[in-house]
Amino acid sequence: MVEPVSPLGAAWKPGAYPNTAGETGLVLSETRPGSIVQAAAWPGREKTLIDAIKSVTGLALADGAGAGQVDGAKAAFGFAPGKFLAIDQKEGLAAALGAVIDVDTGTVTDLSHGRTALRLAGPKADWVLAKFFALDFSQTTFPLGAGRATSHHDIFAQIQRSGAEQFDLYVFRSFARAFWTALCHASEETGYTVG
């Protein structure tokens, strides 16, 4: 298979960019999963869809707004009524979900190329994210695994907390470079590492 090209281009500059105090408060990276898939259930069929996601990914999602789970290479979360985003480092998730979600349950849409996965990890991840998004990133209101759909001006983003100090962002590919550049800019204050 031909390796997909990152949308970040020359804006991806691995290395450490400490702040004046010599600290790096977070690590910015592009996780490049093989699969990013949206699954949507018809009203009343949410449970069936959640079961289907579990049968394919092993991730058991609670039936509640924004509920999600992360498990190593796989992750899934709800971001809208009956709508879920499922991510796998491997390719082929869209086909696998498509095989178990029939047209009476809902739909599966492959977004593996259309969304770019960016990760912010470290003690300052929530501080930097708060510069962009009007969301409460505290752990009590945004627990591990939970997902949110939000936006920064024109840039739509789906965000999942994938660790105590780690967030994964899914942004539209065409905006990825502009957003990445802005992320790096906003991280200069706390210092950051790319890689």
Partner: protein
């Protein structure tokens, strides 16, 4: 200003886009009464006080919401999903997953 999306919880106004007056039922697709279509497209009541209106949570779950908002005070009386599943307005309240619940703040200082 915050709008409490029934799915996403209280979110900033900037995530929402106004989608117009909700007091104008769209005639059935097969309706051939010109006057009804004309009323649907052009007539607006413009009340001073509570007003039923549609908002889309465009920068979030993208669902359309039926909101009753006072045009005098901006106070939001109720928020519900628009369409069949939320036809009856529900009172606006802090969402069950309120973003302002008690809990430790992280990263206190920059």
């Amino acid at each position: 200003m915050l709008i409490t999306c029934p799915y996403c919880g209280p979110r900033d106004l900037a995530e929402f886009s106004y989608q117009g007056d909700a007091n104008r039922p769209r005639p059935d697709q097969h309706d051939t009464d010109q006057a009804r279509w004309n009323a649907y497209v052009y007539d607006r009541s413009n009340p001073a006080g509570p007003h039923r209106e549609y908002w889309q949570h465009a920068g979030g779950c993208r669902k359309h919401l039926l909101i009753v908002r006072s045009t005098l005070t901006h106070a939001i009386e109720s928020v519900a999903f628009a369409g069949a599943q939320g036809a009856t307005p529900r009172p606006a309240r802090r969402s069950p997953k309120s973003r302002t619940k008690t809990g430790p703040a992280k990263g206190k200082k920059p």
